[in-house]
Subunit: 334 residues, 2 copies
């Protein structure tokens, strides 16, 4: 089953806000529905957002209300691109599709479908490459700690970091997985745990702040994360909490590995300092399932992402290479 696909002239997605209770599909027939779905995280994850961006432009370009007029199509695409500011893949997908606009809406759709197929192939390539790299690095069972959701639900299928987990599992090299629940929206508890259950991969769910401590007690021998944007120097924006694991892993000498497609690398951003961090407001932190969890009027800081400096990252695994930052490799050879 695909997280996002193009079916009969519209986008269909798994509604990730309904998991783990229900597996339901949403059909998105225009770009405002898509923007809403992106903003409330019904579709999320860097690779999936790349596909969503491109398919979103295909929706706009085919909309009879625009009658193929480039300017309003580009204006609508800009709104789509801004739906989530930190995720570079969304804007990458939008831009890729817009390049085809002069050749008409069929060309735009063709490019969007290519991106979908490429993301799927990339997931498989990252899985295999990451598995081989880690098997070389770690003797005996590989016990993975991971945060947020980097599985099929974050991509088209298979995912990024979780694609590596799946390859390790299929290979018999996986011990177990420690999955951080990933506050405030619990993508680890709701989505990653659900995917691992479906795949019969052994795991334990933990609260986020237990991650560093369980690393210190031998709970995992590698940390695998995805990425939302990777700066030219290797600094990596990913789900809030990634930095906390990286900081502890560096202290403990545990490999910390980022798994992401090349499209996540943003050579126009020189370091992590330049990455805009989306603050998602108070609501997610001060209430849960309709119940207040903090006193009325409590203010929050709610960064959706953090930035892990490259000096804390052992390596980046993409569909085409392993960049061993810890050994002095750089991204420049892209």
């Amino acid at each position: 089953m695909r997280t996002i696909d193009w079916i009969d002239g519209a986008i269909e997605i798994i509604d990730q806000t309904a998991l783990p209770d229900e597996l339901t599909m949403l059909r998105l027939e225009n770009f405002t529905e898509l923007i809403s779905a992106i903003q409330r995280l019904a579709v999320r994850g860097a690779p999936a957002l790349g596909v969503a961006g491109a398919m979103g432009v295909a929706l706009i370009a085919a909309d009879p209300r625009y009658a193929g007029a480039e300017e309003p199509i580009r204006a609508a695409a800009k709104l789509l691109l801004e739906a989530r500011p930190t995720a570079v893949n969304l804007s990458w997908g939008v831009k890729q599709a817009l390049r085809e606009l002069p050749r008409g809406s069929d060309a735009v759709l063709k490019r969007a479908l290519e991106i979908r197929d490429t993301e799927l192939a990339n997931s498989l390539a990252m899985g295999a490459r990451g598995r081989d790299f880690i098997k070389n690095l770690i003797r005996g069972p590989v016990n993975v700690m991971t945060i947020c959701n980097t599985g099929g639900l974050a991509a088209v299928e298979y995912g990024t970091a979780l694609s590596v987990v799946r390859s390790l599992f299929d290979d018999g090299a996986l011990g177990t997985v420690l999955t951080l629940e990933t506050r405030p929206l619990l993508q680890g508890a709701r989505l990653t745990a659900w995917e691992l259950k479906q795949l019969d991969i052994p795991f334990h769910l933990i609260v986020d702040s237990a991650g560093p401590f369980l690393l210190s007690r031998g709970g995992a021998n590698v940390v695998l994360i995805g990425a939302d944007r990777i700066a030219a120097n290797g600094d990596t924006a990913n789900k809030i909490g990634s930095y906390s694991l990286a900081s502890a892993a560096a202290r403990l000498g545990i490999p910390f590995i980022v798994v992401a497609p090349e499209s996540t690398v943003d050579m126009s951003t020189s370091t992590g300092e330049e990455i805009e961090i989306e603050d998602r407001g108070s609501f997610e932190v001060t209430s849960f399932a309709g119940k207040r969890t903090a006193p009325e009027g409590a203010e929050t800081i709610n960064p959706a992402f953090d930035v892990t400096p490259v000096e804390l990252i052992t390596a980046l695994v993409t569909e085409s290479r392993v960049v061993r930052f810890g050994m002095g490799d750089s991204l420049a050879g892209l």
Copy 2:
């Protein structure tokens, strides 16, 4: 208002499970009610548990069903002592009160009330001592990051780390407070945010995993935590997530300070390796407010505490001294 007190022959506590929605008092007239209140965290926090332990023995000793017979009283006290295994203050309070048992139930109660009064005085002493130490350490506004609840609700009044915050605030030296929500039971969001609101102390609430990242971005210039048990070498058991802050603070050169009464120091435990970590089971992690947050059957690891090694701790502030571990001080001179 006191978190725990002895009123007309019974223990009265603020029901901390009802906050921040409602401020309600619970009256506990026998020790099984007290054990239940401790286990579901209606009363919690190291100093408050010390008082609860002593007052619990007073309840048992005065219970006409035991008719002053020492053996069954000691057996009941043992159940009380085991209600929470990591909290050394609970067992300390129980033992202190039991020492008076040969002199009768009035002597036991007298000792329990002394412990209550001492904890209150200790809170004020820790607040003043911590304030003076930190003002010497940090020039300009003190911006505190803290986890869990270490305020009046964790003690009789004032608290430990939050007593220092309050002293800094009263002194005009406090900038702001970043309060970690403290999963899974959200003591930071429910209790600390509520106390800070009551006191008009400026704060922002954050998810736990944002703590280390916000430290790296200058969000706070000191970390203040409480403690549940301090080993003879200074290793400190405290709420899960403390280690994560300590690990990041050490890397960033930010002072990490433990504030706890001397009764939290357990010289019979030589290092943190010997401290038993209570696992509170799956329920707290896989559901919230009656709603499942993880797929059916998801297994968890749910440590209530972690252990921060002494090499990550700048100093311990107690009611009677500052032990600067970072400068080579040790606890031995107790």
